[in-house]
């Protein structure tokens, strides 16, 4: 009797979490997986096709072109963004800035702007016809390249995302710096270390865990790029294809193409890839942590 009661106590604590977890987390994944095993056609209705949708996804050049684009984005944008965030965090933490509170808030502020609004705002600035770029061209007789052209649009999106997330990553890094015991700095100074030496020998090692978390969030964010291209597409429909990013492609397949089944397969493939990459980065980060 007592044994039974004790085991139920555990469930009572875990139950609310497990219920929500099952409902909002396991159920959508299971349902998406279930969807991905079927194919619904306008002619012929719905049939069970096993893993055909996955086979199609693996051989789908549009999917891989979308994947290549976000991979390039990840390789270029994330290091730049994290480097800028690191600089900002170190600058604030150095204690040598006037008005750190203001600086911190103003760098963080873009993160508080909803992504859709940010994309729209930047879209208007990027406009070479009626936007800021167009006005600059008119006012100074310039011919600036169109940021929304097919060649430059990925770069322009990278700029928006960097603007949005530098402050967020800065906060992650800054809070990691705040927990460093100040006596370490004092000891270093007594030993004759300069500021750069302190950054290199104390602050950067202290930041490793936070950097890893920020990197993993950024990897997930890059693979899930959606808002910015989806909104800028209204302004540049010929530069941003419907398969510009994997998520945009999945969205388009679902809502324009009525291919919920294939879209679910794409989402699962992309989820697995994201998981593998995030896991690889985590493992590598942990191994380096163990070595030092």
């Amino acid at each position: 009797m007592a044994v039974t009661r004790r085991s139920w106590t555990g469930w009572r604590f875990a139950g609310p979490f497990l219920a929500v977890f099952a409902l909002v987390y396991v159920a959508p994944i299971a349902y998406s997986f279930y969807l991905s095993l079927f194919r619904t056609r306008l002619i012929g209705g719905t049939t069970f096709v096993g893993f055909d949708n996955y086979v199609q996804a693996v051989g789908d050049p549009q999917f891989w072109s979308a994947f290549g684009r976000v991979a390039l984005f990840l390789a270029v944008q994330v290091p730049i963004m994290l480097f800028l965030a690191l600089l900002a965090a170190l600058a604030i933490d150095s204690g040598r800035l006037y008005g750190t509170g203001f600086f911190r808030i103003s760098v963080f502020l873009p993160y508080a702007v909803p992504a859709a609004v940010a994309a729209l705002m930047w879209g208007f600035m990027y406009g070479a016809q009626f936007g800021l770029v167009g006005d600059l061209n008119d006012a100074f007789g310039l011919s600036l390249p169109d940021p929304l052209s097919a060649e430059l649009v990925l770069l322009s999106i990278g700029n928006i995302v960097t603007w949005e997330f530098v402050g967020y990553n800065m906060l992650i890094l800054y809070s990691a710096l705040r927990v460093v015991n100040p006596s370490l700095y004092e000891a270093a100074q007594i030993d004759g270390a300069g500021q750069l030496r302190i950054v290199w020998a104390i602050k950067l090692p202290a930041l490793r865990g936070a950097l890893l978390v920020a990197t993993i969030f950024s990897i997930i964010g890059s693979f899930h790029l959606f808002n910015e291209p989806a909104i800028l597409r209204n302004l540049a429909p010929n530069a941003i294809t419907t398969y510009f990013t994997p998520n945009l492609y999945a969205y388009w397949l679902s809502f324009a193409g009525q291919r919920f089944d294939y879209s679910a397969a794409i989402a699962i493939v992309m989820g697995v890839i994201t998981m593998v990459v995030a896991y690889a980065v985590q493992l590598r980060g942990m191994r380096r942590g163990a070595l030092s």
């Binding site: 987390y25 959508p28 994944i29 349902y31 998406s32 279930y34 969807l35 991905s36 079927f38 194919r39 056609r41 306008l42 002619i43 012929g44 209705g45 719905t46 406009g127 016809q129 009626f130 052209s149 097919a150 993993i216 990897i219 997930i220 693979f223 899930h224 959606f226 209204n234 302004l235 429909p237 010929n238 530069a239 294809t241 419907t242 998520n247 999945a250 969205y251 388009w252 679902s254 809502f255 324009a256 193409g257 009525q258 291919r259 919920f260 089944d261 879209s263 679910a264 794409i266 989402a267 699962i268 989820g271 697995v272 994201t274 998981m275 593998v276 995030a278 896991y279 985590q282 942990m286």
Partner: protein
């Protein structure tokens, strides 16, 4: 270590679940019941059923975005006080179709009446998501409507909607701008190209028109040029953008695109309205439903704009095509189909038509189109011109034999992926149309059509 690993797995799992959000939208692969309608043309019984539904009254949910339907609803409710109409704007065009498809799939929240554009109707009729209105005697309405829209609501012998308006094309132009630069109203597309060059040379900020790649516009021009890229016979479909009519279009239009003679501004954008207002977009070749839009959206253009016949591919030619235009349809899952049909008839055939014409809509009914009151109406916005004369003439000259794909909604949605490259400078229009053709064929095959 274990904590770390669990943490890692959780992060990975978060990644997976975030991916899945994009796909986790209601769709039931097991539950699409075609629900074949009973299409027995028994007219008196059907008329009685409709009358009985009106007498009994009830509530109708109507999904439409067309503004003049408000007056129609008011008139309908005044005439049949027992009926309450709930007019909902569930989005324009594609947005509404997405919502409608989802509601039909989910089997709940389906409206009784939905506005569906002609190009999109086959997608719904083929999936049997909309009712064959022959059950209510709609097949006897032949002759009520002009031939183009009447053909557009048919799929095989079935009638899947009642034509609400039509969009025979015409040239809308800013006379002030044309006069200022001494440009004649173009009678042919060659003249149009010449006018584009002359205007842009005289004022580098001004363009004859705008175009950033618009599927509806492109197909309408190919239609007028005699191209028939889509051949549809039930579930057998052919797509071919290599025919002579299409080539006629591409060879002329390529000059405008390559020469940067069309404004790179998307239609219906803020920049577009601005260009129409300040004269930097000097003309539009567009459907006959445009006057009301110009009057409300381009107030600065009052008195400046005029309407002329659509430019021709051959000098002296008299062929036009349709651009846009909508039907009203009754979803198969509608709760009260007889009452819904009564509303359709009121809006598309009876008093509702005149109410919509008074509100500035362009009808699809022969009675209104040929009535002197309609044709002789002078529009102050167009400098007192009898605009409807030009538009009604265009309605009579619509070239026949055109059909859209049964999945045109999707095809149009990937137009900019393919033909858009021609506007971004990476391909020619013919190459773009060829890859659009390939994408359309691929999707058709995936959807179970036999595509040639």
């Amino acid at each position: 270590m274990t904590t770390n690993r669990r943490h890692t797995l959780l992060l990975g799992a978060v990644a997976l679940s975030m991916s899945l959000l994009a796909a986790a939208c209601g769709a039931d692969p097991g539950g699409s019941d075609p629900g074949g309608g009973s299409a027995a043309p028994a007219s008196t019984a059907a008329a009685n059923e409709v009358q009985a539904a009106l007498d009994a009254g009830g509530t109708l949910k109507v999904w439409a975005w067309e503004p003049t339907l408000k007056q129609v609803v008011a008139g309908f409710q005044a005439k049949y006080p027992k009926v309450t109409v709930d007019l909902v704007n569930a989005g324009t065009g594609n947005d509404q179709y997405t919502a409608l498809q989802n509601a039909i799939k989910a089997g709940s929240g389906v409206p009784d009446v939905a506005q569906i554009e002609y190009y999109a109707l086959p997608q719904f009729s083929l999936a049997k998501s909309v009712t064959d209105l022959r059950a209510f005697g709609a097949d006897q309405l032949q002759g009520t409507f002009t031939p183009g829209p009447w053909a557009s609501v048919h799929s095989g012998a079935g009638v899947y909607g009642l034509p609400m308006d039509s969009g025979p094309m015409a040239l809308f132009y800013n006379k002030d701008v044309f006069d200022k630069h001494g440009i004649e109203v173009p009678a042919t597309w060659d003249d149009f190209v010449a006018a584009a060059e002359k205007l842009h040379a005289a004022d580098p900020k001004a363009y004859i028109t705008n175009d950033t790649g618009d599927a509806g516009f492109t197909t309408s021009l190919i239609w007028q040029a005699g191209g028939r890229p889509y051949q549809v016979d039930g579930t057998s479909v052919a797509v071919n953008f290599g025919d002579a009519g299409t080539q006629k279009f591409t060879s002329t239009w390529q000059k405008l695109v390559s020469g940067k003679l069309v404004a790179p501004i998307g239609s219906w954008s803020d920049a577009w309205y601005k260009g129409l207002s300040d004269g930097t977009i000097a003309s539009l070749v567009i459907g006959a439903w445009m006057p009301a839009n110009l009057e409300s959206g381009v107030k600065a253009g009052a008195g400046k704009w005029r309407v002329a016949p659509m430019p021709q591919w051959e000098s002296g030619g008299k062929a036009t095509s349709e651009n846009g235009g909508s039907s009203l349809a009754v979803p198969e899952a509608a709760a009260n189909k007889a009452l819904a049909y009564a509303f359709l008839k009121y809006a598309a055939v009876e008093e509702g038509v005149q109410a919509r014409v008074d509100g500035g809509a362009f009808p699809a009914t022969t009675a209104q189109l040929s009535s002197p009151a309609f044709q002789d109406k002078e529009f102050p916005y167009f400098g007192g011109q009898q605009v409807n004369k030009v538009l009604a003439e265009s309605a009579n000259q619509v070239a026949d034999g055109w059909s859209y794909l049964p999945y045109q909604v999707y095809a149009n949605s990937v137009f900019n992926d393919t033909v858009g490259k021609a506007y971004a400078g990476g391909a020619t229009l013919s190459e773009g149309l060829k890859s659009w053709q390939d994408a359309s064929i691929k999707y058709g095959q995936e959807q179970g059509f036999s595509v040639r």
